[in-house]
């Protein structure tokens, strides 16, 4: 269980998170939605232990995130792989760094994602780089999987490959997958629990299917509605 309790975080004059409280339970694919600058990445980095709250607290299985980093497989939004690495070198690094690295899964996913180990990070397309980031993250058997904008700026076929990798890998009742994105359209049918955040606060949250039933709207439309009300 990941818990945010009244979490505040400020960067200069910007209130990135504002009394944010939420819980991410097991066995769900969770969408963290909101426009650019809503606080999604700040929240994701906080779970990964890469920044600290100014007020309130974040707990991962009851522990502070900086003590539970081994439990989190985190795919950051930025390109964090060295350009001069081949995929094999990147995988070797991950293997030596994380005890939960699963070689069998990695080998299987190489085929599924049409990746080759001799691919050099600086020489491949943006879509292939996105798939490299994905394989390096999901080849760990970590209790929590966090993906920050995994689909942004990527062609539609690669997006489909990424989404199907997540579906293929997902085990009901176990590892939750938390996906932050501002492109909700791409993940409408993928997520089953959603949190819409804006200006560091939750605007709407709930089960994706129940929201569709009660509001008769798609998640994209619900977000537009919610944010129109916020701005008024």
């Amino acid at each position: 269980m990941i818990e945010f309790d009244q979490v505040g975080k400020r960067f200069g004059s910007i209130q990135a998170l504002d009394q944010l409280s939420l819980q991410f339970g097991p066995g769900k694919i969770i969408g963290l939605f909101g426009p650019n600058g809503a606080g999604k990445s700040t929240a994701m980095k906080m779970i990964a232990g890469l920044n600290q709250p100014d007020s309130g607290h974040v707990l991962v299985d009851g522990q502070k995130p900086r003590h539970s980093r081994v439990k989190i497989a985190f795919l950051p939004e930025i390109d964090h792989l060295y350009g001069w690495w081949t995929l094999k070198q990147a995988a070797d690094f991950m293997r030596s760094f994380y005890a939960d690295w699963d070689d069998r899964k990695y080998t299987e996913l190489l085929g599924f994602l049409n990746l080759r180990e001799d691919m050099k990070i600086s020489k491949i397309s943006k879509g292939q780089r996105a798939k490299c980031k994905l394989i390096l993250t999901v080849s760990r058997r970590a209790p929590y999987l966090l993906l920050d904008e995994p689909l942004s700026g990527i062609d539609i076929l690669t997006r489909e490959e990424i989404i199907n990798t997540l579906i293929r890998d997902f085990r009901e009742g176990e590892q939750p997958i938390i996906i932050s994105t501002h492109e909700i359209n791409d993940v409408e049918s993928l997520v089953d629990e959603v949190f819409f955040i804006d200006q560091g606060r939750i605007v709407v949250s709930g089960s994706a299917e129940e929201l569709r039933i009660t509001q008769g709207l798609s998640l994209v439309e619900i977000m537009k509605e919610a944010f129109r009300h916020v701005q008024q």
Binding site: K28, I29, N164, I167, E172, S189, E209, R212
Partner: protein
């Protein structure tokens, strides 16, 4: 099962059930046929596995499918049930049709009239083929 074109403003699990029912009604699936496992189906239509699970549980609850341990999931519905579903789906469409026509101010006689005219046109079109 076929590729689904989801209406993302409606519950997806309900659309999975509806798609399954349509395939039964059209005879593309029959009693005893094996249907994809939940995971295969989730991958095929790129839908959250929990959503697919909910749809399959509902299919079993209403007696349309059954999962046999170690063997897979099968169509359970018999022909009587399938014809009942067909009737129910047609009734749904008719209810929507009449509600819409009423909201436009059409009386029973006028509805009969437009229906007859349409049927005549369709008949004409078929003969001309």
């Amino acid at each position: 099962m076929s590729q689904l074109d989801y209406d993302t403003s409606k519950a997806i699990y309900k659309q999975i059930i509806e798609d399954f029912q349509k395939q039964l009604v059209r005879g593309e699936l029959g009693p005893g046929d094996k249907i994809p496992s939940q995971r295969e189906y989730a991958l095929k239509v790129s839908v959250n596995p929990n959503t697919v699970q909910r749809a399959y549980q509902e299919l079993e609850r209403i007696g349309l499918a059954e999962t046999i341990r170690g063997q897979g999931t099968f169509v359970k519905a018999d022909t009587t049930l399938i014809s009942e579903i067909r009737q129910a789906m047609a009734d749904d469409i008719l209810n929507r049709f009449f509600a819409e026509m009423n909201s436009l101010g059409y009386a029973k006689e006028q509805i009969t009239e437009v229906l007859n005219r349409r049927l005549m046109e369709m008949k004409g079109a078929t003969t001309n083929d």
